[in-house]
Symmetry: C2
């Protein structure tokens, strides 16, 4: 039986990596496909913390897929955020919690399940329930970690009642203290000391194309915004280089304080779009965005609204 | 509570009309939204037969939606096949069994459920099960009718084991004899005597845009292909007029014999695409396609493959 690849988006976050592994487990139990989880990039520190905590190995790196390769996408759909060669792959499943991107399409019918919830794992929890498959302790722990990561421990506006309800249930199954485990995990992700500026802007970075305008939104989590801003000039140089190499017209780099739940933003390129989108004045390429923590709910829709007029 | 519109595709078939009504019923029971089913075009004879059989009223006609209107799409996703104004609507649900079209996208997260099965109603059956909502006799009858219609009584290659399994279960609930009811229903749909040629090509007609090429595939069901071909010249004139008015580059009109499960096709415009797609010689604008009954599985993918090179 041909191997079916499962993977999340480029610059993978915790939800992308772990949801690939969780879906791999579910599909193996269902037995219809010969599946294998992959990752499209480096494991970040937060995900590493979770994998170590539960004693799980990271999936292998996938660089490209060939024409006709059967694949299952988790935590994304847009081709701009997916693997090289995705246009010619055979997409048989999508499990996702984002909007359907302009760049996404399929040649044939498929199984597509999206729900407007905080992370992909919450949807996978529903799929387990519907399939009547019993969940083990580690899978529950991985799912819980995805919810904590994507909702910043329930503080993001993307967090729904469903995520909270599922998280409580999973914490019991996984036998972890949500708040202690959650903070430890998020803090592990804020250790940015080992990253070069060009790596920093790539930890969790996504490409968008709206109405022909190509823009990038990257995000890092921190416990101290000033610590990250110490390297502002170097970060800006890395952003400039990225923009030149990728024909990016606007680059928004969010530095999110996960304790206080605010963001500082560095913006290069078409700054006037960002000024209108966030209703702020950008000075010296930067601005403070009180209460902004979610790229998906508080950044991308606002930018798209301005671009679409 | 703002009214949420539910509708299927333009030139609605039985699955589009009835799935709108079935989802309306499900959502009303769930109670989260104030929903109302609509239709985007004339009710065809087959659907009329079903509505009369079960004593159900057709949904009202919807011509356009305004910006921000919350909507739920069934049985389609492509904007080319949807209501006027869909680009600016707020799409909160899609329940569909087609590929994700090039023209589809959303501005925000949504509930999207697609499965590779024969009709939308089969997916709605799953949604009923997952919700734990008991199904009444009439809903079961409507669902069964969708399956019979879209799979041509299980003869189309789009029909899956799941559709057959669900249909058997629904027939019992609805207390109908699948074969007798199914043939009566399909035959009601083959009564084309009252249609003008320009109506005939619009009974079940869909627009596709692939790689910038806009094409149209229309289909009628009949018990006698020669009967339909009597008006070949008039049909061709109607197709020509449609193509001029809509900048269509290729028009494929399938006349499907639902007894023998073959199709005769009339092709205008870029005939060379159709010749390659079906591996036939088109003479006098027409060709016989043995065993071809499904637009979705046997026509559109083949055309797309040629267009995409």
């Amino acid at each position: 039986m041909e191997e079916v690849y499962i993977f999340g988006h480029q610059n993978p976050d915790t939800d992308s990596i772990l949801s690939s592994l969780i879906l791999e487990g579910l599909e193996k139990t269902l037995g219809e496909y010969n599946v294998k989880a992959y990752r499209l990039g480096k494991i970040n520190k937060e995900t590493e913390y979770v994998l170590n905590y539960f004693g799980i190995k990271a999936p292998e790196l996938l660089e490209e897929v060939k024409e006709g390769q059967p694949v299952m996408l988790v935590d994304h759909n847009g081709f701009d955020q997916s693997v090289k060669g995705i246009e010619k792959a055979n997409i048989i499943r999508v499990v996702d919690h984002h909007n359907v991107a302009e760049s996404f399409k399929t040649n044939g019918p498929l199984f597509y399940l999206a729900m407007p919830v905080g992370c992909t794992a919450t949807i996978l929890r529903e799929m387990f329930k519907v399939s009547g498959i019993k969940m083990d302790k580690i899978t529950a722990g991985l799912m819980l970690s995805c919810i904590i990561s994507d909702t910043l421990l329930f503080n993001s506006p993307t967090c729904t009642d469903k995520d909270r309800e599922v998280a409580a249930e999973l914490a019991e199954l996984a036998e972890v203290d949500i708040n202690k485990y959650g903070l430890d995990m998020l803090k592990a992700g804020t250790d940015l000391s080992s990253f070069l500026p060009e790596e920093l802007i790539n930890i969790d970075s996504k490409t968008y194309v709206t109405n022909g305008i190509k823009y990038q939104v990257a995000q890092v989590n921190t416990a101290s915004i000033p610590d990250v801003l110490k390297n502002k000039t170097e970060i800006e140089n890395a952003m400039k280089k990225f923009m030149e190499e990728n024909n990016t017209e606007l680059f928004v780099f969010l530095i999110t304080d996960i304790i206080e739940n605010n963001s500082q933003v560095i913006v290069l390129g078409k700054q006037e779009i960002a000024e209108k989108a966030f209703n702020v004045k950008i000075e010296d390429n930067t601005a403070f965005l009180p209460g902004v923590v979610s790229r998906k709910k508080q950044v991308v829709p606002n930018i798209d609204k301005i671009i679409n007029g």
